[in-house]
């Protein structure tokens, strides 16, 4: 399904769509408040952008540095060319441990690789431990936002599914009550798990360590209780130096939720005595994106979600309308690189207002890349309906006579034609919009009357 079709489904529940729009705008406003507390905000964005640009320009060097230093620290480093290999590596580790249940903290990469269905097919129980992720896992849904995975749901939805799965009181929608029910349920899972999987926010080449940020503490609850920790990262998550974290940790949470920092920022450098620590470096198309010069810097993304919260289209169409693992503006420039045909409507899901670019903490020129993708897609897909009408208009504007006649005809016919003909499916501009009121005469006629 295309983005406009999916968005139409989302917009059917007007009240919920309005709530979604308003709620994300509040998050955007919170971001504005916290960034204004830092006079050097723009300087930090510039630094972050430069650090990421530098890293990408020497990515092979830094990946080897990371592997060397992490290995020296006692971390087992694996390389995966694609999603399948990533899943196989995890499957093999779990087989070796004869592990039948894992706990997992939020990782968009494992969503991208469809790790959960892969493991479930092997008979392994996967428990997503981020509260939002656990909720959508119960509902068998993907996340609709990369930072707030359950932002599309109302507390009544969550109350219903918790009543079914966790036997909470029917109709009790109190967020505190529901969160505590999840706390008890997940604590049991944490205490039993032998293997914990996490994502990675930043990996540091210089020290061979990696950083995981959460507010709930679920990543730490998982890994410190388990015997084996498997961390999965896209190869673009690298930064060169430990001190670079000072820049990125100041930017990440402020951009994401308007907090000054996430409450837990854990640095993993070597396993606890007697335990195991694995780090999987995943490509899955990233080197292809790196090869596209116009789109290369989309790999600077630190997954804060700020571009989603600010986007007038995302807020009014919901994360599912994009049909991609990463939705919103950043998803619309990453996804066409993965499958141009499947995601061909995404770069058009934008007003090109540029708000995404303005809020991006690593200064990705998102709206410009959306525009670039549109060129690529139009080239690949040929003429569209809008393209045909543009050609028609081109003919009319070229000939003064044609212009005069068609103007008169339109003024006469639009008054009398029924709406069903004017707002026909071929008129893409008539969807959700009304035509302006018709002037009684043309400008030319008016000019003749009023000026000499």
């Amino acid at each position: 399904m295309s983005h406009p079709e999916n968005a139409t489904v989302f917009l059917k529940d007007k009240e919920r769509a309005k709530w979604h729009d308003d709620t994300l705008w509040i998050v955007r406003q919170k971001r504005d408040v916290t960034i204004h507390q830092i006079p050097e905000w723009e300087k930090l964005r510039e630094l972050a952008s430069q650090i990421k640009d530098h890293t990408l320009s020497k990515l092979d060097f830094y990946l080897e540095e990371l592997e060397k230093n992490a290995t020296a620290n006692g971390i087992k480093v694996h390389w995966a060319e694609n999603a399948e290999e990533h899943n196989q590596i995890i499957g093999k580790i779990l087989d070796e441990k004869n592990c039948k249940a894992i706990v997992k903290s939020k990782s968009i990469l494992t969503e991208e690789c469809h790790l959960n269905p892969f493991l479930e097919e092997k008979g392994i129980e996967v428990v997503d431990t981020d509260l939002g992720e656990r909720i959508i896992q119960f509902l068998k849904q993907p996340p609709s936002h990369i930072v707030m995975p359950a932002i599309h749901l109302k507390k009544s939805d969550i109350s219903d599914i918790f009543h079914e799965k966790l036997h909470t009181e029917k109709g009790n929608v109190d967020p505190v009550y529901l969160t505590y029910a999840a706390r008890l349920h997940l604590r049991e899972k944490f205490l039993q798990a032998k293997v914990a999987i996490t994502g990675v926010n930043f990996a540091i080449a210089e020290t061979g360590e990696f950083v995981v940020c959460t507010n709930e503490g679920n990543a730490d609850m998982g890994v410190h209780l388990a015997d084996t920790h498997i961390a999965c990262m896209g190869i673009e998550k690298l930064i060169p130096r430990r001190k670079d974290l000072g820049v990125f940790l100041r930017l990440l949470a402020r951009s994401a939720t308007g907090q000054s920092i996430t409450n837990y920022n854990s640095h993993f450098r070597s396993p606890s005595p007697g335990k195991e620590l694995h780090l999987i470096l995943v490509n899955n198309g990233r080197t292809k994106q790196l090869a596209r010069e116009k789109f290369r810097n989309s790999l600077k993304c630190i997954r804060c979600g700020a571009c989603m919260n600010t986007c007038p289209i995302y807020r009014r169409s919901g994360g599912f309308s994009y049909g991609s693992t990463v939705p919103g503006p950043i998803g619309s420039i990453l996804s066409p690189g993965i499958d141009l045909k499947k995601y061909s409507t995404l770069p058009f899901a934008s007003t090109l207002c540029g708000s995404c670019t303005d809020v991006c903490p690593v200064k990705i020129n998102i709206h410009e890349q959306l525009y670039e993708w549109r060129q690529e897609i139009t080239k690949a897909n040929g003429a569209s309906l809008k393209g045909l009408s543009m050609k028609l208009a081109d003919g009319i504007f070229k000939s003064p006579l044609a212009y005069k006649i068609s103007g008169k005809m339109m003024r006469a016919s639009l008054k009398t034609l029924p709406d069903s003909i004017i707002y026909n499916p071929l008129n893409a501009w008539g969807k959700g919009r009304n035509l302006p009121d018709l002037p009684p005469e043309s400008f030319k006629d008016w000019y003749k009357k009023n000026r000499k």
Partner: protein
């Protein structure tokens, strides 16, 4: 070809021109670091308490299971460090020492030298971190300067209690980890 070799070859094949790595300059910090720290911690839903206030709280609340690795509160410890962290699932209060803290966001740095078990600050129901006044720095850049190249298997910045807003953006304290964070500044 191994996946490692093919990934590295794909990147090398692009012959990208190296872009410069910037140096990170110093930025201005708050004039009164203790005041700024207290303000930031409040924003993160943590509380600054005095040594006396904490002692009184412990006496009044009567936490059944307390573990302190901070010498200042050692006498309150009433249990032994277990072999396996899961045996601390019923820990009511942990008191640990932090190395230093960043005033701009209330984040406190702890590493394995402060953590007898990595799980302690997460698994405990309530957490107290003790820091010294002179160990409050201005921002995260100064914090990483302090960390320097120290080598610890695990280190963490903790800035508040466990929290979530995943249900309709309503803030709830105590998702999986500690349900409260109190900081004693000595």
């Amino acid at each position: 070809m191994s996946s490692k070799a093919s990934i590295l070859a794909a990147i090398k094949g692009l012959n990208m021109k190296e872009k410069p790595l910037p140096e990170i300059p110093d930025f201005e910090v708050a004039p009164d670091l203790v005041e700024a720290y207290t303000h930031s911690l409040t924003g993160n839903k943590g509380t600054v308490v005095s040594k006396k206030e904490l002692e009184q709280l412990i006496l009044e609340t009567g936490f059944p299971k307390i573990y302190s690795s901070s010498p200042a509160f050692e006498s309150f410890t009433n249990c032994k460090l277990p072999q396996h962290p899961a045996d601390f699932a019923d820990l009511d209060l942990a008191i640990i020492e932090g190395q230093f803290a960043s005033a701009e966001n209330a984040a406190i740095w702890l590493d394995e030298s402060n953590l007898d078990l990595r799980a302690i600050p997460f698994i405990t129901a309530h957490l107290v971190i003790v820091i010294k006044k002179e160990n409050i720095v201005g921002n995260m850049h100064e914090a990483y300067e302090r960390i320097g190249d120290t080598n610890s298997g695990f280190g963490v910045f903790i800035a508040g209690p466990s929290k979530t807003a995943d249900i309709e953006q309503s803030l709830v304290i105590g998702a999986h980890g500690a349900m409260s964070l109190r900081v004693v500044i000595l």
